[in-house]
Amino acid sequence: MIDFSMYDFQAPKISAYRCDTCGAIYYPAPMICGKCNKRRDPVTGKSWSTFDLEGPCTLLTWTRVWNLPEGYTKKFLQFGIVQFENGLRASGRVEVEEPKTGMKLAATVEESDERPGKPVKIFVFK
């Protein structure tokens, strides 16, 4: 018997990285810690840990782009840079009607298949 509950939908996540030697956090991950010079092995992840980058964030700046690249069928998309409560920053989509610099948002992660190739994980700030 197959237990299909094993194949529950897995919500997409985007990871940030922590150097276990000195505690510095990064997004995206460097190959060498900028604080303590510890190497990161991208295969084993030894000496580094990951955590989900999500939740409350503040919008630092934003734009509404009208000339989207090939693959995008929407009239426009909004993009922004946010800062999380842990100090990390990220770029992604902004899905609020009237974005304003400094507004509080929540970071979610979705899959995008707009471009050719495998779907990719994107931040959507709502």
Binding site: P28, T61, T63, E70, F79, A90, F123
Partner: protein, 399 residues
């Protein structure tokens, strides 16, 4: 002491749409012009080294190894030739590496050629190809593009310093005034502040691209090539050329975080500032010594921000100088006398070389009537790669 390096030949195609032509042919045209300018066409096989600047011929033209193709087009075998790829800063990087080849003693005569054919693909595809220079996972995959970062940077600057969309339009009007007189410019047409900012149709004529950037705040997608012949001014071979050299007084580059969001202050263009400081130090000069500048205005906000990072204006004050006309051709400090990327165009691999061609034209006194700077002594260019993550600066001197 390292050899002094001078420029004895310049070549340039008219930027615009050359999509019916082969990239190597377009680059060879500019290179041949540079050799003819130097009176060195027949001696071209005596050139010690060729450096070719190109960003993305593999994607734009489905063509690789363009340095080899260029050599054959020009019947220059067996001169060594290599490709330099550094995004939109490929051109100035090739100039820097050409300088290093001569200063190191490995070469006395170096040909630098920059070129790009971007219009073989449609505009959406060109935007996508250019965006591949962004960080793949954290920027490109999100759907971000270079105009997107330009828009976000502009909004930050506006909110901090009080810049207006009209100020951006004033920069464009100034650049188009220069480009309209430049025989090499893509868009050889003026525009008025009424048409693109003040008039009732301005919203239509000058529509948004990446808010608050509008069409007249961004450069066109262009094809074209530019070339320079560099020489060791201290070598006996320097006497072979038809033109008196324009000396490269300073050349330097610097990098910043690949991901824009990882900059402590996203309004500071550290790579511009550091490349500029290094170039000034090498030249023994400061911003007050520079007569005019060619700055990488892929988005007009960058002309303003780069001019501040280089010390030409206080931070947050450059647009006030634009309002007073100080950066016009007859102003206190002319900027983008060629028309800049905004009007002259921006074939990405060619731009850094093209900027230096303009420095040489101005320093020789060869610019067209109406856009010649009066008695310039030093010109400076900044070629901006990525969204400021890899930047090269060049200072040229009329000795």
């Amino acid at each position: 002491m390292a050899a002094r390096v001078g420029i004895v030949g310049i070549g340039h195609t008219r930027f615009g749409n050359s999509s019916e032509y082969d990239l190597a042919d377009v680059m060879a045209y500019a290179a041949t012009d540079a050799l003819q300018d130097a009176g060195y066409l027949a001696q071209r096989k005596e050139i010690d080294q060729v450096f070719v600047a190109n960003m993305a011929s593999g994607m734009f033209c489905h063509q690789s190894a363009v340095a080899s193709a260029l050599i054959s087009r020009m019947d220059m075998e067996p001169v060594p030739a290599e490709l330099i790829e550094n995004g939109p800063a490929s051109g100035a990087s090739a100039v820097k590496i050409g300088y290093m080849a001569i200063a190191s003693g490995m070469a006395d005569v170096v040909l630098v050629v920059g070129g790009e054919i971007m219009r073989k693909v449609n505009g959406w595809s060109a935007t996508d190809i250019v965006a591949t220079m962004l960080d793949t996972d954290t920027e490109y995959n999100m759907g971000l593009t270079l105009p997107g970062f330009g828009g976000m940077f502009t909004r930050l600057y506006m909110e901090k310093y009080g810049l207006t969309e009209r100020d951006l339009a004033l920069v464009a009007v100034k650049s188009h005034d220069n480009g309209a007189r430049n025989k090499y410019a893509h868009v050889q047409a003026t525009c008025t502040i009424e048409a693109i900012a003040d008039g009732p149709e301005a919203d239509v004529v000058n529509n948004y691209i990446a808010e608050p950037l509008r069409m007249y705040s961004t450069c066109p997608v262009s094809d074209g090539a530019a070339a320079l012949l560099l020489v060791n001014m201290d070598s006996p071979r320097a006497k072979q050329f038809a033109k008196k050299p324009v000396r490269i007084a300073g050349v330097a580059s610097a990098t910043d975080t690949h991901c824009v969001h990882n900059r402590k202050d996203p309004l500071q263009l550290n790579a511009v500032r550091i490349a500029g400081e290094k170039a000034y130090k090498m030249a023994g000069l400061g911003p007050k010594d520079i007569s005019f500048a060619e700055l990488h205005d892929a988005f007009v906000i960058l002309e303003l921000a780069i001019s501040e990072e280089l010390g030409f204006f206080e931070r947050g004050k450059s647009f006030l100088a634009v309002r007073k006309g100080e950066t016009r051709i007859d102003g206190r400090f002319p900027i983008n006398t060629s028309g800049g990327l905004k009007s002259k165009g921006h074939p990405v691999g060619a731009t850094g070389v093209s900027q230096v061609v303009e420095l040489v034209r101005q320093l020789r006194g060869e610019a067209e009537e109406g856009r010649q700077v009066k008695d310039p002594k030093y010109g400076m260019s900044v070629n901006f790669g990525g969204f400021g993550n890899n930047v090269a600066a060049v200072i040229c001197a009329k000795d």
